[in-house]
Symmetry: C2
Subunit: 270 residues, 2 copies
């Protein structure tokens, strides 16, 4: 694959990479930034998202050959020296492996649910506003073969730069959609035949004793407040037993435990 | 509890809080920084570490009454306005709840192992150099009632400021000790009658099918390279089954799954 050497930070071809951290805050008008070789591998192999360009630190080009072979053939690959990369990004980019992807139009929840297999496992998130947690939950969803992640409107964007990075690219692989409200999410999942389990410290059944049906949605809420009581009342509840005196589990850790338990990965799903 | 109002960032009584981020790098000569109400609650109730002082943003004092009641009675509580706090810390401290604790002398591994109950669960870490992972693993260890965390010398410090914060104070509660080498760790645990399971993607038994004896040590290695092959050869191995095409699990997430499975918390340990 040919690459284009860029010598001027003001070159219009790399302006999508300008002021990376500031743009995290104001948004990118339908684009996202993918960082690092593992994430680019996922971006290129999952093929859920169009790729606009790749930008590499010049000394990284040699090690990226196999990754670039996976990229769509027409994607421009820009290569720049450290000073140019730092100047355009607005901070020191010591790793220097970047791509710009294009977001998809929001997928209607019913379309996504309608596309899922007869036996399905989905993650339902309510109020997950922390990008580290969002990324970590996507990573667990991918690791345990969840078919989709469904969000309520108070969740943060899974395609935020840090969420993608923490997800190790899983946010570019696992399909997701946003419901109009958390209540709408419950209604749509019920209409599509899903059992719905809310993870809650006061859940009725311990996770290891819970059994799933063909279609299962697992709900996770924010760490501090958890899922809203009115929502929990409409769902079956599952708890993760913890030691007395320290009943505090990170929501991503809770998702790892529950997804592992209910996953068919390894052929021993419950 | 009486508090002392501090008006001068150069006041010698608060110099342990000076240049917080720079001191993270050079070390604190036997001290550590605890941040946030939940962490201070744990510092004061676990009582594993001596407390030198507390420093609060003045508008946080009112909400800290119940926490301060848990503190040792002779601990000085300093209160400062935002400008003084920011000036001494060297950056904007918008939360403003801090304490300085004193590290304990390193506990010999045999002493710690000798103090554990007949039925015991410990976490053994080899090469965990990331403070987020260290903190998250301690949080999981506390949540699932692990009796100790054992480190090899290539692990980072669990009392590093960020590790304590991510652990939500668990690093101040769960006893830990450092072995001279990873091989020494294996030998000492064997001498104390521990079964030793290494978590590895190529483990012989899937986690949910593994059964423990009275004393169990669970080994976790770095995310990239995992546990050294020579070490794995000396241990029983356990895997966490993952989906094809995304066999990537964060080490803290792996610890959550394994600790939950082997924990007696909830009265249903395996």
């Amino acid at each position: 694959m040919d690459s284009v050497y860029i010598e001027d930070p003001a070159d219009p071809r790399i302006q999508a990479y300008a002021n990376i951290k500031e743009r995290d805050l104001v948004g990118r008008q339908g684009r996202f930034v993918a960082e690092g070789k593992v994430v680019l591998n996922m971006l290129f192999t999952a093929r859920r998202f169009a790729v606009e360009s790749v930008l590499l630190l010049e000394n990284r080009l040699a090690g990226m050959e196999r990754t670039l072979e996976l990229a769509p053939p027409d994607v421009p690959v820009y290569v720049a020296p450290q000073a140019v990369l730092d100047a355009v990004a607005g901070f020191h980019m010591h790793r220097g492996v970047l791509a710009i992807g294009r977001k998809r139009p929001p997928e209607p929840l019913d379309d996504l649910l309608g596309s899922l297999p007869e036996r399905a496992l989905v993650v339902a998130l309510v109020g997950i506003a922390n990008h580290d947690n969002m990324g970590a939950i996507f990573r667990n969803a991918a690791a345990f073969g969840a078919d989709a992640v469904l969000l309520d409107p108070t969740c943060c964007d899974p395609l935020y730069r840090k969420a993608i990075r923490v997800s190790v690219g899983a946010a570019l692989k696992v399909p997701f959609a946003t419901a109009e409200t958390a209540n709408d999410l419950v209604a749509r999942l019920a209409a599509h035949g899903f059992d719905q389990f809310a993870l809650s410290p006061r859940g009725e059944v311990e996770c290891r004793d819970a059994r799933r049906g063909q279609r299962l949605a697992l709900y996770f809420g924010t760490e501090g407040e958890g899922l809203p009581g009115a929502l929990i009342d409409r769902l079956e509840t599952v708890r993760i037993a913890m030691a007395a005196g320290f009943d505090s589990l990170n929501v991503a850790a809770a998702s790892a435990i529950a997804l592992h338990h209910f996953s068919d990965a390894g052929g021993t799903g419950v």
